[in-house]
């Protein structure tokens, strides 16, 4: 056994010390008729066999490297500097547990403290927690904060239908037992004329605990939510903005717009696509709401030698102390992914993140301009966008994507899946990874489609 060090003579000596004669004797409490089932699993592979089998499975996929990808819709192919994974591979980081013993966990603690600081700097907010599972669950947890803030007295949550469909779905699941009503979660109302604020604002009332919008929204559109947030605040409601962190390298922060909570999917910050996870839910808010916030929180302190140090703080919000009265049930979070994003942001810094954001912006706009010159392909919305945009196509998106795939291109997201009125609408994402050549190839194949 390569992972079990005990040898037979050692086991023998230990059984003797315990006072039993065989290891089976330790399982007397297990109901006899169910004890020691024969598991129908394949026999053990050695490491070299397992490595080969996993390589084969991996090779059975076509990746965003094998293909040219214009797929985004909540997960983005960005360049990850080599140094990120070099840090993540340090055994001291990835094989440690939650830093409950601060004296021997200062590495993790300071890294999370810095992550919190970096996320605040990025979003323009005051406090960040140590992470949520992903963007979707971070959105869902924002409802818990708002609900607790109003002590359950406000029971309505308004969400824009232009928020990621899977975030909205997750939210629907989370609120099942909470006695909340969701308003605005009406994808069927989204047409090319949809303007988020106009759709949302009328829904906000004195019973509204929280308003949720996305920035850029699911269609890649960028709105200044300042007026909407003011309107929400006028009704006493809180506002949560789910933001793309790369976009924040360029765009006005939700903090500046007055948001109370800024959450989002941190995957673009140095985390591999990895078929959807593990990713990183980030969660930032104003200091006044910190006691209602879910999740772990690192604070600065000093040790008994007067050295600056860090500890988990305000733990009385959490399940292991407060149990059913906790702000959330979250325990294990996305620590290592938070570290990845901190390293990513440290490496790129002020200049690098802006550079990436601009590259995404310029390339997406070039792609959009080229595509909309093809007869039959038009902009869906007439709104500024960041690095993703919706195109109305002359044929069903499924056909178009199939055709693109034949040319080695991973097409965009079929908006008709979630938005009935956006049948034949294709959501295209462009990042710094897409060369002009690739974009031109996309345009060429799309032009073919329009001719067929």
């Amino acid at each position: 056994m390569t992972y079990i060090p005990l040898t037979p003579p050692e086991r023998e000596a230990m059984l003797q010390a315990i006072g039993v004669s065989k290891v089976e004797d330790l399982f007397q409490d297990v109901p006899a008729r169910h004890r020691f089932p024969k598991l129908n699993l394949p026999p053990a592979l050695t490491e070299m066999e397992a490595a080969a089998e996993l390589s084969e499975l991996a090779a059975a996929n076509e990746t965003v490297r094998d293909l040219v990808s214009f797929l985004g819709a909540g997960a983005y192919h960005h360049y990850i500097p080599a140094a990120v994974d070099h840090i993540l591979r340090r055994g001291e980081f990835y094989t440690a547990y939650t830093p409950y013993q601060p004296e021997i966990s200062q590495g993790t603690l300071q890294a999370i403290f810095e992550y919190q600081s970096l996320l605040c700097a990025l979003t323009g907010m005051e406090v960040a927690n140590a992470s949520h599972y992903d963007g979707a669950t971070a959105v869902a947890e924002s409802v818990n904060l708002a609900y607790a803030q109003f002590r359950g007295k406000r029971t309505k949550v308004v969400i824009s239908p232009a928020v990621h469909p899977q975030y909205r779905a997750t939210l629907r699941t989370y609120v099942q037992g909470m006695g909340l009503t969701l308003a605005g979660d009406t994808p069927e109302t989204v047409t090319s004329d949809e303007v988020t604020a106009a759709h949302i604002e009328p829904l906000i009332d004195e019973n509204t605990a929280l308003v949720i919008v996305q920035y850029p929204d699911f269609f890649g559109r960028i709105y200044d939510y300042t007026a909407l947030i003011e309107a929400a605040h006028a009704k006493g409601a809180l506002v949560c903005v789910a933001a793309n962190p790369i976009a924040l390298g360029l765009l006005k922060t939700p903090g500046q717009m007055g948001a109370d909570i800024v959450v989002g999917e941190g995957q673009p910050l140095g985390i591999p696509l990895s078929f959807g996870g593990p990713y990183l839910g980030f969660f930032t808010t104003r200091k006044q709401y910190v006691h209602k916030m879910a999740g772990r929180l690192v604070g600065e302190t000093a040790d008994n030698r007067g050295q600056r140090a860090y500890v988990l703080t305000l733990t009385a919000r959490e399940q292991h102390i407060k149990r059913e009265r906790a702000t959330s049930n979250i325990c294990t979070n996305q620590g290592l992914m938070a570290l990845a994003s901190a390293v990513y942001l440290s490496l790129l810094g002020k200049t690098g993140l802006r550079q990436v954001a601009e590259l995404c912006y310029h390339k997406a706009h070039y792609a959009a301009a080229q595509i909309t010159q093809i007869p039959g392909f038009t902009y869906c919305f007439d709104t500024p966008f960041f690095h993703e945009f919706a195109i109305c196509c002359p044929r069903p998106v499924e056909e178009i994507n199939a055709h693109l795939l034949e040319h080695g291109i991973l097409g965009g997201y079929d908006l008709g899946q979630d938005y009935p009125a956006l049948k034949d609408h294709l959501l295209i994402a462009v990042t710094e990874m897409n060369t002009k050549e690739e974009i031109d190839a996309l345009v060429e194949v799309l032009a073919e489609v329009s001719h067929d």
Binding site: D29, P42, E56, A58, I104, V127, Y174
Partner: protein, 497 residues
């Protein structure tokens, strides 16, 4: 020693290390024409730090060295199953064929991923005895929330809407009541009996037609297998309730018994405990949920299934399917795929015999440590344990606390056990060695604890002032922390707008 000899160990923050004009990575100039930027929507300033790659690497390298880790030593944190994380897992999870796939790709282009997920579902079913498994939940607590919502949905689907009460033993982890509360249920605590089992009388008394079910950790957080487990389950079932298994302690049961066979209705797995995916300094984990047949239709959506059967020549075509009465999705995309690869690798390398050996050796290690320590520390529920046990961190004739013992263990180069949990043991020291530790390590740990118990009587300050600044592998240069200051000052961020 002069002051010269104790230079500050403090590592500056990444913001303090910043020097304007540096960058750790650059990007090419755009190869397309620049588009006009939306002036009114631009941010004024981007107050991120500025560092070269060498600055960043050194900073995180220094920080890493302040951490204790499983790769560095014994980490007997009860309830956390801090087993060794095989290195091959890290490599397979990083294979470009996995790491560079987008979650929304057409299924035809990701058959490798789907085959892996399908197989992992099947394996987890076989290991646990459940009819179906969803891999979506992100961690144990997330699995609990999923499970509780499924229990709720199950009752409602039967038109039974008055069930709002969740029964939870007093030894349960805090996530159990928290998950129930998040699902809008009320929590009723069930006491333990003198042998650490669920108190049957109390359970019976609590069981009525308002019961959603019981959340049961078995082995429980005392490390004990409930001696009346089947009766407990029957009592709950008899009142129409369901039994949820908190699978945190499944490591003790691999190949020993299948929770599904015992009558559990559903359960979450912790891939980051039982199946060796690393804890990552707090996460990510992965908390798949298994369900018996009557609950399978409520699992979160989507599951991976076969959408076109294969034959001798063609492999099957895998795709996503939606369970009929699904509670919906509990997060975006399909779960923590990177963790699935690791857990798959681990199970593949163990096979049925290897998994049973995992449980046997985990239980053997725990009982051996218990045998070595029971004469030094009082073990309130002292019987053959499973993968862990709970001792009282007190020493007769000394006023030291469990915390002091924990901190003193650091001086000996060990990570302390879990403290002050479960709540039903005073000054709890919850010790879970796992199967990946050698007898030599267990002996060294036991001897350290025995020596510390001695010190508690003869030199109690050695414990109360611990940890001491010591050089050497696995030890770090920090002393006890001022937790009050942290909560009072609330410095949560070193950058402020």
């Amino acid at each position: 020693m002069t002051d010269n000899l104790t230079p500050k160990v403090v590592e500056p923050t990444i913001f303090e290390l910043s020097s304007p004009g540096r960058t750790g990575v650059t990007f090419p100039d755009p190869d397309v024409p620049r588009a006009p930027l939306p002036e009114s929507l631009l941010r004024a300033d981007l107050p991120l730090p500025e560092l070269a790659e060498v600055d960043v690497i050194r900073h995180y390298m220094h920080l890493s060295r302040f951490n204790y880790s499983v790769d560095g030593g014994f980490y007997p944190l009860g309830s956390c199953t801090m087993k060794y994380n095989p290195k091959i897992n890290e490599d397979t999870a990083r294979l470009p064929g996995f790491a560079f796939t987008h979650p929304l790709q057409p299924v035809e282009t990701v058959q490798g991923n789907l085959a892996l997920m399908f197989t992992l579902q099947e394996w987890l079913k076989e290991i646990s005895g459940f009819a179906a498994v969803s891999l979506q939940p992100a961690a144990g607590a997330h699995g609990e929330l999923t499970g509780v919502l499924m229990m709720r949905a199950y009752h409602r689907a039967r038109g039974d809407t008055k069930r709002t009460k969740m029964l939870i033993p007093d030894s349960a982890h805090g996530t159990n009541p928290a998950s129930s509360a998040m699902s809008g249920l009320t929590v009723m605590q069930i006491p333990s009996d003198a042998r650490g089992n669920v108190d049957l009388e109390a359970l019976k008394a609590a069981c009525d037609e308002t019961v959603v079910g019981l959340m049961l950790t078995n082995p429980n957080t005392l490390g004990l297998f409930d001696e009346h487990l089947e009766e407990v389950i029957k009592i709950v079932h008899d009142c129409g309730g369901l039994v949820y298994g908190d699978g945190a302690n499944l490591n003790a049961l691999l190949g020993i018994v299948r929770p599904g066979d015992l009558g559990f209705d559903l359960m979450h797995f912790n891939l980051h405990k039982t199946f060796s995916t690393p804890h990552g300094g707090g996460g990510p984990g992965s908390g798949p949920v298994g369900a018996a047949a009557h609950l399978a239709d409520f699992l979160p959506s989507p599951l991976v299934g076969v959408i076109e059967e294969g034959d001798g020549e063609m492999p099957p075509l895998y795709g996503f399917m939606e369970p009929k009465q699904t509670i919906g999705r509990v997060k975006a995309f399909h779960g923590h795929f990177g963790m699935f690869v690791r857990a798959f690798t681990y199970i593949a390398m163990h096979g049925p015999d290897g998994l049973r050996a995992v449980a046997e050796n985990a239980v053997l290690n725990a009982n051996y440590l218990l045998a070595r320590l029971r004469h030094t520390f009082h073990v309130p529920y002292d019987r053959i344990c499973m993968h862990e046990f709970v001792a009282e961190g007190k020493v007769e004739g000394s006023d030291v606390r469990a915390l002091d013992i924990a901190k003193r263990l650091m001086d000996y180069g060990f990570h302390p056990p879990t403290n002050y949990f479960p709540l039903i043991v005073h000054e709890a020291l919850m010790i879970e060695p796992t199967e990946t530790e050698s007898k030599q390590t267990l002996d060294a740990f036991a001897e350290a604890l025995i020596k510390i118990a001695e010190e508690a009587k003869t030199q109690p300050d050695l414990l109360k002032e611990a940890p001491h600044p010591l050089p050497g592998a696995g030890k770090t240069p920090f002393g006890r922390m001022d937790e009050v200051k942290a909560a009072r000052d609330l410095v949560l961020c070193c950058w402020l707008p």
